[in-house]
């Protein structure tokens, strides 16, 4: 890698909120700009070069032309980072995967549907090799900065492989099940400083499942609380619709 690594940011179907999270690193942005050279970041700069070392890719792939573009990015980048739930697990875009695309398009575009083709949302790793996934909707700023440090130092960055529940206990939050709510923190990958439960709302699973979740035990807990399996799987469909193991369980 060159002395000052060249970074590029790209987005596909997404809200560009993860790129905004990068710009939202107000305390670290100037230092980051000193350590790297950003050569492509349409949302913030005019410059557009293809000689990047590390590509950050936001968004899901939903169109044939996106496939071509993401493959080109893969070819050019030494390291490709999928960042944000849309890119790592399909995210919010995958909600539409549960209805036939024709019906989805028809509802939004009416008789113009054919003009704007789209297919069920796919995470980036479905199309190209991904070297690192930064999860979340949006990404965590601290995780992004930590990952950058590791990438620049040539060190391995590892994302947590334990559930949100672990960090929620450490944060001394009252368990939301005790309050009569549902929460996906039991099987969802940690790394978010349990923000949602800390702010009184349930974990909606935006960071996807940990690698080997004890799904059956999680279902048992939910069933003990009188929740139907359908109610539970529906919660998973908000962000993890591409995860067939979960969504086809019912």
């Amino acid at each position: 890698m060159s002395a000052k690594p060249k970074l590029a940011f790209f987005s596909f179907a997404s809200c560009e909120g993860c790129q905004l999270q990068v710009i939202n690193c107000e305390d670290e942005l100037v230092a980051l700009l000193g350590a790297v050279e950003i050569v492509n970041f349409r949302e913030a700069i005019d410059e557009r070069r293809d000689d990047y070392d590390i590509a950050f890719v936001e968004g899901s792939i939903t169109r044939p032309e996106d496939e071509h573009e993401v493959k080109e990015i893969r070819e050019r980048a030494k390291i490709l980072v999928a960042f944000g739930a849309c890119a790592t697990i399909g995210g919010i875009n995958a909600i539409k995967n549960f209805q036939p695309q024709e019906k989805v398009s028809q509802y939004v575009y009416g008789d113009q549907a054919a003009t704007f083709p789209s297919y069920p949302a796919r995470p980036v790793h479905d199309l190209v090799k991904v070297d690192l996934k930064l999860h979340g909707c949006p990404i965590s700023k601290s995780e992004f900065l930590e990952a950058c440090k590791c990438l620049l130092a040539g060190k391995q960055f590892t994302v947590p492989n334990y559930p949100v529940c672990v960090t929620c206990k450490l944060a001394e939050n009252v368990c939301l099940y005790q309050k009569g709510m549902t929460c996906l923190g039991v099987v969802t990958r940690a790394g978010c400083d349990p923000m949602c439960p800390t702010f009184g709302n349930k974990c909606i699973g935006c960071r996807g499942l940990i690698d080997h979740p004890n799904v059956n035990a999680a279902f048992d807990v939910l069933e003990d609380l009188g929740l139907t399996l359908e109610e539970v799987t529906k919660d998973f469909t908000m962000f993890d619709g591409c995860h067939k193991e979960i969504t086809e369980k019912k």
Partner: protein, 437 residues
């Protein structure tokens, strides 16, 4: 104009930079005659209206805030307002104040981001904020300080600015503490000098904004109690049109155009404009006195028909939001922060939520069944409403600058698009929807 009579120009900008989302400018002039003038919206469509079908009332604001990273608080606001309207849910004064504070935070963060990071580089002759780190370190430092203040305001009130966590129909799932509100107040007070410096900076640069005017219909939400941002009671326009929130379609009329995955909007004229300048032109009398002072200093006077002055109106609204946020902090502290649990009685019905997000009027319109499940949804996003206006601006702007070089014309068109601070990934799912089956 003899020199331009035979001129041919082909502007083809693939992916306009320093805007949110993917848009292309296509302008063709042949022998001095304007043949094509389009802002093509090429963003991947996301189908949010379809995604809402079958989802529960408590999921709507969590899903729709994901439409846009920049105006996530605005989407969450319009969403909870729509659900509350549908189910007849009343919220407390404290909830109203917290939501207003949150919207002031988002307005400051979005306007500061746009003015400093996306628009100012054009006026300083650079391609981004990056070179300014070296040449204008104090300016960059100030921009980051203001942005951080605004993000922290939203973070304290709703967990995150991108994407709010605790805003829910009926109120908040977590109430900030008095100490946190006091902290916000102190942080705003610490930034007052930076807000003033922002006005001075833009006042010094405003002379570089192109002198381009085109009269159009300016549309904004109106609230009798205040300069409408978080909510209002009716829609008004500078052409004298008005309608109730629920009848928004009387003014916001949509039509399909082939080159855009976002429908165009107009009322009686061929286009309509929303955003900071539209709000200023309609409601300027309700601005905070300090914001009116700033407007005078910046040379912004209603009615202003120079689109580029949308940037200036954003600065005026930044001043307004900072001072109003201080007032709301004082009100919250005087009343004391009370722990409240959102009360929701699920019932069937249609509800409309209108909010002024940084880029203009946002419409969320949901229909619920008796289980609180969405059966119909319509979302109209500010940038979608501005698209026809942008192209009408192009049509007037290009002939006026035809004597300039192709590079200058291209830069002028890019600046014109940027002046709207468009949010393209939002706009691609603003289409009118019809429920089938």
């Amino acid at each position: 104009m003899a020199t331009t009579a035979k001129k041919s120009v082909n502007v083809n900008v693939r992916y306009v930079t320093r805007v949110e989302g993917h848009g292309n400018i296509v302008v063709n002039v042949k022998n001095g005659k304007l043949e094509k003038c389009e802002l093509d919206i090429v963003e991947a469509p996301r189908f949010f209206e379809s995604m809402l079908l079958g989802r529960r009332w408590d999921e709507a604001s969590l899903i729709t805030s994901r439409i846009c990273g920049i105006c996530a608080v605005g989407h969450a606001s319009a969403s909870v307002l729509a659900t509350e309207d549908a189910m007849g849910i009343k919220v407390s004064e404290q909830t109203e104040r917290l939501r207003r504070l949150n919207v002031y935070g988002e307005t400051i963060q979005s306007h500061v981001l746009h003015v400093y990071f996306l628009a100012a580089p054009d006026l300083l002759g650079v391609g981004s904020v990056v070179p300014l780190v070296q040449t204008h370190p104090d300016v960059v430092k100030r921009a980051l300080k203001l942005k951080k203040l605004a993000n922290d305001m939203c973070g304290i009130i709703s967990g995150r600015k991108v994407h709010p966590i605790s805003m829910t129909p009926g109120g908040f799932t977590r109430i900030p503490t008095a100490a946190e509100i006091l902290y916000i107040k102190e942080r705003i007070l610490d930034c007052v000098g930076d807000v003033v410096a922002t006005v001075d900076l833009v006042a010094a640069l405003a002379g570089k904004l192109p002198n381009f005017t085109r009269e159009t219909e300016y549309e904004a939400l109106y609230c009798p109690d205040e300069y409408a941002l978080y909510r209002g009671t009716k829609l008004i326009t500078t052409d004298g049109a008005e309608c109730s929130n629920r009848d928004y379609k009387k003014i916001v009329k949509e039509k399909v155009v082939g080159h855009s995955s976002s429908k165009h909007v107009s009322n009686k004229r061929s286009s309509i404009m929303v955003g900071a300048l539209a709000r200023f032109n309609n409601n300027w009398k309700q601005l905070h006195p300090k914001a009116l002072e700033a407007a005078a200093k910046l040379g912004l006077k209603a009615p202003c028909t120079n689109t580029f002055y949308n940037n200036v109106a954003q600065v005026v609204e930044t001043v307004h939001s900072a001072y109003k946020a201080l007032e709301v902090c004082d009100e919250l502290l005087a009343a004391g922060l009370k722990d409240e649990t959102p009360e929701v009685q699920v019932k069937a019905g249609r509800g409309v939520g209108l909010t002024e997000v940084p880029r203009g009027l946002l419409v969320h319109d949901y229909t619920y069944d008796d289980r609180g499940v969405i059966t119909d949804a319509n979302l109209i996003i500010p940038t979608g409403q501005n698209l026809a206006n942008i192209e009408d601006d192009f049509r007037k702007f290009v002939p006026e600058v035809l004597d300039r070089s192709q590079e200058e014309i291209t830069l002028g068109l890019e600046m014109l698009v940027r002046a709207y601070d468009p949010c393209i990934s939002c706009s691609v799912h603003m289409l009118d929807v019809k429920f089938v089956g």
